[in-house]
């Protein structure tokens, strides 16, 4: 499995070389180098996939063992990587999407003062993400998990001169850390019960866990996943994360990193399969997140905020899939989402780029004629995410909703309503930005915005093709369920299959399609000629249900007050004060003794003689006994 090593090695090599020589390579040399590193990784990934294709059965799980990372007591942690059908799917789309976005970034980041640094971080991110998906044990997964978190921190606060960007990066890292507590505790609980942290041992033996333990482990890891994949109640960081450069939003905060939580849950499916209550909780939280975020997305005015809420909402769908046991549907949605959401971001980035970093949709409009490629790719992405057949979203979201229906009709109802909202808010975005009247004169000072350079439009076209056709991966007809057939052995008995009647099998996709078209129609009616409708943009939704405000008021301010109080009052006066009190006592006693110290040698001698007398007397008396 040397080729798997190459997959991970190329981005690492790219990172190290850029770290050493990136500044000398400059703009755009560093960008090209980073892109080539990731593209090579993609090629190696394809090679790995071909190797796996030639194997059968359990041989499709290959482990690349490098060296022992650390060891103590009964705990042994290796640096070893795992190529199996699940991780190869992840590897392929991560490296593929990354390569495309790297290419796009060369154009987008052009003339930035820290051009080469951007690619250093980006390559490090790809490396961490690959470690995350290929790691063969929990701590190594955690390494990737934290590594992508750190890269996300650096990239969000890439323009650190802006206080908002700096704060956003920090916030993302800290909220992810809250989730990480869950990851750590989950790992501990796994080790405590199964005496190993390696997937090769944990996953086959998961059935030994008692159901209570399994529930706890599942919930703890879900806490981690909720942090990384921006689920309720930890999703607020993803909105602020939009402070980062747009390619970062596309790569990290839409296509890859945020889906790591979903991947983790899929990876741990054997444990999840034992935890029914936890699964239901995950499904409910997922669908509520999807709904809440979609509602919020309808009222945003910042183009990236709309897309960010949309991402949260889509991640909610994936969690719904995980919770209902439809792991393959969730992975399928993850892959297609990576394509169309990356595309939406990159298209938005293209718009933002041409409007001199303007992000408010109020100051856009009528851009379709000026930026045809951007507009058309965005429309393809919109149709995909809305679930219009035959675009990819129709199949992937449809399969998640089908399984949700099989599990519980209520989940399905909320999911379908959310689908309606999705089609609506994305429609709103497209109409307001690309049609209607032009409102960007202020921003561009008269001259017309123009289409982005080719280096940015080529990635858009590539992703548009992928977004339109990714449905082919897993068509709902028995012979064409490629992804399902590929992944099913990995999940085995953990995979839940719901048997739907033949009428349901026709009615459910039909409903999806109708709902998607309904949402598009609504958006067309309401936003074709308007850029602002107060009644449809209530403050509560605009502010994201005030959740972030609530956190800020309670935890952030309360915590700061507590910290300052501890620093200014508790430590100097109470803790140190107690010691100071003892010191004062000694000084008082010393003051008594000071009077004896007259400084006259003869007084001292007299005292000394008295001491000799007493000492001798004691010796004599004790000896006489």
């Amino acid at each position: 499995m040397v080729v798997l090593g190459l997959v991970i090695g190329f981005p690492l090599l790219g990172f190290l070389v850029l770290l050493a020589f990136g500044k000398r390579m400059g703009d755009p040399g560093a960008g090209w180098f980073g892109t080539i590193a990731v593209a090579s990784s993609f090629v190696a990934a394809i090679a790995t996939w071909i190797v796996l294709l030639t194997k059968h059965g359990s041989n499709r799980t290959q482990v690349l063992h490098l060296f022992r990372w650390f060891q103590a007591g009964g705990l042994r942690v290796d640096v070893s990587f795992r190529a199996d059908p699940l991780s190869i799917v992840m590897i392929l789309f991560v490296t593929g999407v990354s390569a495309v976005i790297h290419l796009y970034s060369i154009g987008y980041m052009k003339r930035d003062a820290r051009f080469h640094q951007f690619f250093i971080y980006l390559n490090l991110f790809v490396f961490s993400m690959l470690v995350l998906v290929t790691a063969n044990n929990l701590p190594l997964t955690f390494l990737g998990w934290e590594g992508v978190g750190a890269c996300s921190y650096w990239l969000i606060s890439f323009w650190f001169e802006r206080p908002t960007a700096a704060s956003a990066g920090k916030k993302a890292f800290i909220i992810n850390r809250i989730g990480d507590m869950g990851f750590l505790l989950g790992t501990f609980l796994v080790f405590f019960n199964l005496h190993s942290v390696s997937y090769s041992k944990v996953l086959p033996e998961a059935h030994q866990l008692s159901s209570g333990t399994a529930e706890a482990i599942a919930l703890l890891f879900f806490l981690a996943a909720a942090g990384k994949s921006a689920q309720l109640p930890l999703f607020t960081w993803l909105l602020d994360a939009m402070e980062g450069p747009t390619p970062v939003s596309a790569l990290i905060h839409a296509a890859t990193m945020v889906t790591a939580g979903v991947y983790l849950m899929a990876r741990l499916s054997p444990i999840l399969a034992l935890a029914h209550a936890a699964s239901m909780t995950i499904a409910i939280i997922g669908v509520i997140t999807a709904f809440v975020a979609a509602m919020a997305a309808t009222s945003q005015t910042d183009i990236k905020k709309i897309v960010a809420f949309s991402t949260v909402s889509q991640l909610g769908y994936m969690m719904l899939g995980i919770g209902t046991g439809a792991y393959i549907a969730a992975i399928f949605l993850m892959v297609t989402h990576a394509f169309y959401k990356a595309l939406i971001f990159l298209s938005s980035g293209s718009v933002i780029h041409s409007l001199d970093s303007e992000q408010s949709i109020r100051r856009m409009g009528a851009l379709a004629k000026l930026m045809p490629i951007t507009a058309w790719t965005m429309i393809i992405a919109w149709l995909s995410i809305a679930g219009v057949p035959p675009f990819s979203g129709f199949f992937s979201k449809g399969s998640v909703l089908e399984d949700a229906f099989g599990r519980n009709e209520l989940l399905w109802v909320v999911g379908v309503v959310t689908a309606l909202l999705t089609a609506y808010y994305m429609g709103r975005l497209v109409f307001v930005v690309f049609y209607g009247n032009a409102r960007w004169q202020e921003v561009t000072h008269g001259h017309d915005p123009h289409e982005s350079p080719r280096i940015m439009t080529i990635p858009l076209i590539v992703l548009a093709v992928a977004a339109a056709t990714a449905g082919l991966l897993n068509l709902p007809y028995s012979g064409l369920r490629f992804l399902h057939n590929w992944l099913a052995p990995v999940f085995g008995s953990a995979l839940v299959t719901y048997h739907l009647s033949s009428s349901e099998k026709i009615l459910l996709p039909a409903t999806d399609a109708v709902v998607a078209l309904l949402g598009i129609f609504l958006a067309w009616r309401l936003w074709r000629r308007h850029s602002e409708r107060k009644a449809l943009e209530p403050a509560v939704l605009f502010k994201g249900w005030y959740i972030d405000t609530f956190y800020d008021r309670t935890f952030a301010r309360g915590g700061t007050a507590l910290a300052k109080f501890s620093d200014r009052v508790v430590d100097p006066t109470i803790v140190d004060g107690a010691v100071g009190g003892i010191a004062w006592l000694f000084r008082w006693v010393g003051g008594l003794g000071k009077r004896v110290q007259s400084g006259l040698v003869r007084s001292y001698l007299l005292i000394m003689v008295a001491g000799i007398v007493v000492l001798l007397a004691y010796v004599l008396l004790s000896a006489a006994r």
């Binding site: 003794g593 000071k594 004896v596 110290q597 007259s598 400084g599 006259l600 040698v601 003869r602 001292y604 001698l605 007299l606 003689v609």
Partner: protein, 101 residues
């Protein structure tokens, strides 16, 4: 028959007492210093006496070292006295109280 050791010890004790009294009552630092030498001699006498009583050379060795140390002590002590005198023009102990706490 020789004189019993306890007699020497009594003499040593008396000499020690005289020395102590001198240190405690005289004001002239140099005389105080001499009184200290008396006390040392008293102790030396005790050592030698015990050495004889126990038939052990250790006592005499100790005296030997005490003599050396005393010599060194006198040298340094007198050096200090000279220094103090140059600084303060007095050798009366009660005038010197820089040890006051």
């Amino acid at each position: 028959m020789t004189i019993p050791g306890s007699w020497y010890l009594v003499v040593a004790a008396l000499l020690f007492g005289l020395g102590t009294f001198g240190v405690l009552t005289r004001r002239n630092v140099i005389v105080m210093f001499m009184s200290v030498e008396l006390m040392l001699n008293a102790v030396n006498l005790t050592f030698v006496t015990y050495a004889r009583m126990l038939n052990d050379v250790g006592g005499q060795i100790a005296v030997f070292f005490v003599l050396v140390v005393a010599a060194a002590e006198v040298v340094v002590g007198l050096g200090i006295i000279v220094a103090i005198f140059r600084h303060r023009a007095t050798v009366t102990v009660d005038d010197i109280s820089s040890l006051k706490g």
